[in-house]
């Protein structure tokens, strides 16, 4: 690690140098991509810089909060989140046919809160019962997961529900959820797929169908997938070069600073770029897992492992969607896509991992 990094790390306190380096590299790539995708729009670039700065500050603050204090935030945050979700179900605003927003003077999506609140809550719960984890604890954990999952599912917001469900599942898994239960649950889920299909909303079914054959609706839902796969595929091995992607620069790729930014990246940097990007995410996850392995507390272990895996899941779902192997769900590419809330939530998570990494002393609750 270079000398000046040490200096920065010392000044800012509890930061993990490797993770910070990886994140900063990724943010640099993100800035370059937003610049290219927005046609070098000064407003977009400065907005992105502000988001990055804000999110990095939040990360630094988070990294300096010791895990035992963090864990105490879990229950109140979880209760508040679930309460707000119930509030949404009762009083929420409907936009685009879904009841996801709560008007608190500003539009607010409580489901965003649960992305961190659910792992925190579960980790807090398992930490409390450390050393004596038995089946009943997992039943309780499962129940804590299902409540927000079902509330978000009926908004409806299948994408977010699955992402939050995944984060909860990862935590249960790392906490030692029995393989029998996992296998049984998997079998059950497989068997209930037809039922899920029937219960899906029309637009959700259409998205899945469009994934299977984008050409069935080339000007509607299929347009996004068709144009993004053209962009990625035409990038070839080395890409067309930064700011040289025709699909991007001529406006063929939709939502290209946000959800479809990987299409721009793939077009301009090619397969080599794809390998490096996936490698970067893998490195972040690997570092997170190493931190988890070394963490002194169960809470720290569970949080670091879950948040790391979660970050990669986001990357996988987004890149899978943009390259046409997953249905179109509104999931941004972590630490790449333009957007304030997502950036803050993600770097909050990274801050928590750093906190786990740098607070090595045992702080039993």
């Amino acid at each position: 690690m270079p000398q000046n990094s040490h200096w920065i790390l010392r000044r800012l306190g509890h930061l993990d140098g490797i993770l910070l380096t990886l994140v900063v590299v990724l943010l640099g790539v993100s800035l370059a991509m937003v610049a290219s995708a927005s046609g070098q729009s000064p407003a977009r670039i400065s907005g992105h810089l502000i988001n990055i700065g804000l999110a990095l500050s939040v990360m630094v603050v988070m990294a300096n909060v010791p895990p035992h204090i963090l864990s105490k935030v879990g229950p109140p945050l979880y209760v508040a989140g679930v309460t707000l979700l119930i509030g949404v179900a009762l009083f929420g605003e409907i936009r685009n046919g879904a009841r996801r927003w709560l008007n608190l003077g500003f539009a607010f999506q409580p489901s965003e809160l649960l992305k961190l609140a659910l792992p925190l809550m579960l980790a807090w719960y398992f930490q409390r019962n450390e050393g004596g984890l038995r089946g009943k604890h997992f039943w309780v954990g499962g129940a804590l997961l299902l409540v927000p999952f079902l509330l978000i599912l009926r908004q409806p917001d299948l994408g977010t529900a699955l992402m939050i469900g995944a984060s909860g599942f990862y935590l249960l898994f790392f906490a030692g959820l029995s393989w029998k239960v996992i296998a049984g649950g998997g079998a059950l889920a497989g068997a209930s797929l037809p039922l899920v299909w029937i219960l899906m909303h029309d637009y959700q079914q259409r998205r899945v169908l469009t994934l299977l054959d984008p050409t069935s609706d080339p000007l509607g839902d299929g347009y996004h997938i068709i144009q993004s796969t053209i962009a990625i595929g035409s990038g070839g091995l080395f890409g067309k070069g930064w700011m040289q992607g025709t699909q991007n620069q001529l406006d063929f790729v939709p939502e290209r600073t946000t959800d479809f930014i990987y299409a721009v990246f793939g077009e301009e940097f090619g397969y080599v770029g794809t390998i490096l990007l996936v490698g970067l995410y893998l490195a972040i996850v690997a570092r997170g897992l190493v931190i988890a392995a070394r963490a002194p507390t169960l809470f720290g272990r569970l949080m670091a492992a879950t948040l790391s895996l979660n970050l990669f899941t986001y990357a996988f779902v987004n890149m899978g969607m943009v390259s046409g192997i997953l249905p179109v769900v509104g999931v941004p590419l972590p630490l790449m896509s333009y957007g304030g809330t997502a950036f803050i939530t993600l770097l909050l998570g990274v801050g928590i991992i750093m906190s786990v990494a740098t607070h090595r002393q045992l702080n039993k609750t």
Binding site: T274, V278, G320
Partner: protein, 630 residues
């Protein structure tokens, strides 16, 4: 059951956790592999395919219509030219409510009911994203008003378009023809000919006349701009350009002044006139009356005007020179006379006594001569000069229908002349075989009798008569009439002469030909049927008058012009060439309801020949005033 110590449990949980971390790492590796595999498939395996897709996304071919070739008269004066004008165009797929938009536009600039009708007709024929002209030739003021209000009128555009102007108007309509908007039928034809691509970017195609028959030369080759466009179709920049190649210019044999004279001489009469250069087949003048204004069609004619043109009893859209078929009447006699000589059935001096009628052997039916009491003693020259019917009744019977058909066919009767205009009629040269085929009936001897004077089944066009006349003038050379003399390459600007087309040379005994020519000259001299029309001519003329019956005359009845409505009166015919010694012009005239070739058709031909040979412009035509002699 003994509960394990918490510490031992902690160790076991930690070991389990490390195991789970490995499983998690494997899971992540699997997901990463999926992404990389997908990336490999898209970016390496399918790279070429997606590159093609991306290129076709961004590159669009924008066609550039070529400038259409000009049509010039023999002296280089423009008959059909291009001009650029602003047009108000509507794309139905891009406007909201059509009626609201039309009302809005109507408040800004004047839209006439005719323009609106035309627009609705074009709209009905067009596709949703095709642009349809609402009003052409906008004034500068109108363009300014529309430009200022453009934001209020989505789907409405003002575009600069090339148009065609026909300066000569009515007089040239049947020669030059007109262009019109490409319709589904044109498109189908172009597609079948593999020329569809060459019409991208242009909305017009030649519909009639030279505009139609020389379409491939006049049109030129469409150019293309390769444009880079964004997802909304806006052009970003030009990548490359294939410039359009303008169409070729056409220079005609026809002289605009002579054409004007030929049109003028008709006065109020309807009919057709065609003058050929007997040596080259070049068309010197071609008039079909009435004409029409070809400019009406250029950008779509409004339905009312079209209806009035199409349903007019005068049939202004029919080119009478090419498509008007009439019995040749007495104009066939010089050719019959030549046939008699060439087949050895007559000598020029052979004379008959004409009592005023002819009867077939063992028949009481009388085929009357047009002259009551007959012409007395008639030899070949007099038979032509005075148009003696009985001479030809006899000759026809001696010749028989088979030989008559075969000989006359050599003059191009009953066959398309091959002029460089479309839609020509072949006419009808009757034969035994034709009648059997057409009517499943044998040929009757009486039919041969009347065929001898160009009546009965015979049908010819004025153009065929002109070609046949030219053959007498040029000594049997079967020329194909041609309007276009030379073609100019738009790039080199060099004129290239079009080849003269001769179908064949007929071998005619010079003495026989001289005898017939002498008979035709006698027509124009005192005692001949058209002597008045030739009075005072500064050159020699050979001619022949004729009459084509419009209504049949019953046996025993006499034709009485006074008792017939004008439209039932006979058509007057006249063929001629001049100067006889060295012919440079051959003419055929058909005057509908003109009654007598000598009194209406011949003076018209004379006026045209006068202008062509001496430059003398005709004064007021006093047609029909000359005594009727036939």
């Amino acid at each position: 059951m003994r509960r394990p110590t918490p510490l031992k449990n902690l160790d076991r949980e930690l070991a389990g956790f490390h195991g789970r971390l490995k499983v998690g790492a494997v899971f992540v590796a699997i997901l990463a592999t999926l992404l990389l595999a997908r990336g490999f498939y898209l970016q390496i395996t399918q790279h070429d395919y997606y590159t093609g897709r991306a290129e076709s996304n961004r590159i669009s071919q924008v066609p550039i219509a070529p400038n259409r070739g000009l049509i010039l008269d023999s002296k280089g004066r423009v008959l059909a030219e291009n001009y650029s004008a602003y047009t108000l165009e509507v794309t139905r797929g891009h406007i909201g409510n059509l009626e609201t938009t039309l009302t809005k536009v109507g408040k800004l600039i004047e839209i006439t009911p005719g323009q609106l009708r035309r627009f609705r007709r074009l709209l009905a024929e067009s596709h949703e994203f095709e642009t349809v002209p609402l009003k052409s030739k906008l004034s500068d003021e109108e363009v300014a008003i529309l430009a200022a209000n453009r934001y209020r009128l989505p789907g409405i555009e003002v575009k600069a378009r090339l148009f065609r102007n026909y300066q000569a108007g009515h007089g040239m309509a049947h020669v030059v023809g007109f262009i019109g908007r490409i319709n589904d039928r044109d498109l189908k034809r172009l597609r079948e000919a593999g020329r569809e691509e060459n019409y991208q970017g242009g909305a017009h195609i030649g519909k009639t006349g030279l505009e139609q028959s020389y379409e491939t030369l006049l049109h030129g080759r469409t150019g293309f701009d390769q444009m880079e466009t964004d997802s909304s179709g806006r052009a970003v920049r030009v990548l490359s350009r294939i410039p359009p190649v303008p169409g070729k210019d056409l220079r005609l044999y026809l002289d605009r002044d002579l054409q004007e004279v030929a049109e003028h001489v008709f006065g109020e009469y309807l009919g057709g006139l065609v003058a050929l250069d007997p040596n080259t087949g070049g068309v010197l003048a071609l008039v079909s009356k009435p004409g029409f204004d070809p400019n009406l069609f250029v950008d779509g004619i409004d339905p009312e005007t079209w209806k009035s043109l199409n349903e007019s009893p005068d049939r202004p859209m029919v080119n009478r020179v090419l498509r008007g078929i009439y019995p040749p009447g007495s104009t066939i006699k010089p050719f019959m006379a030549l046939a008699g000589l060439e087949l050895g059935l007559r000598k020029p001096s052979d004379a008959i006594n004409d009592p005023g009628y002819y009867s077939l052997p063992r028949s009481s039916h009388q085929y009357r001569d047009w002259k009551k009491g007959g012409h007395g003693v008639v030899d070949l020259s007099k038979s032509i000069a005075q148009s003696c019917d009985v001479y030809y009744y006899r000759l026809a019977v001696d010749m028989g229908i088979d030989r008559m058909h075969d000989y006359l066919a050599q003059f191009g009767l009953g066959e398309k002349s091959g002029i460089d205009l479309d839609g020509e009629s072949a006419g009808l040269l009757p034969s035994r075989e034709w009648k059997q085929r057409r009517f499943k009936q044998p040929w009757y001897p009486g039919e041969t009798v009347i065929a001898g004077i160009g009546q009965g089944f015979h049908l010819t066009t004025p153009l065929q008569l002109a070609v046949a006349t030219a053959m007498i003038a040029n000594g049997g050379k079967r020329i194909e009439p041609r309007l276009v003399q030379s073609v100019r390459d738009p790039l080199t600007r060099a004129w290239q002469a079009q080849p003269v087309a001769t179908r064949k040379q007929l071998a005619i005994d010079p003495d026989n030909l001289a005898a017939v020519r002498a008979g035709m000259m006698a027509v124009m001299q005192p005692g001949g049927t058209a002597s008045r029309a030739a009075a005072g001519a500064a050159y020699t003329i050979a001619g022949k008058t004729g009459t084509a019956q419009v209504v049949g005359i019953k046996q025993g009845a006499r034709y009485d012009a006074g008792s017939l409505a004008r439209k039932h009166r006979d058509h007057a015919l006249f063929i001629a060439y001049a100067p006889v010694e060295n012919p440079t012009i051959a003419i055929a005239v058909m005057v509908e309801n003109g009654e007598h070739g000598g009194s209406t058709a011949a003076p018209m031909a004379r006026a045209v020949m006068d202008y062509y040979l001496t430059g003398k412009r005709p004064g007021n035509m006093n047609l029909g005033a000359i005594d009727a002699t036939e």
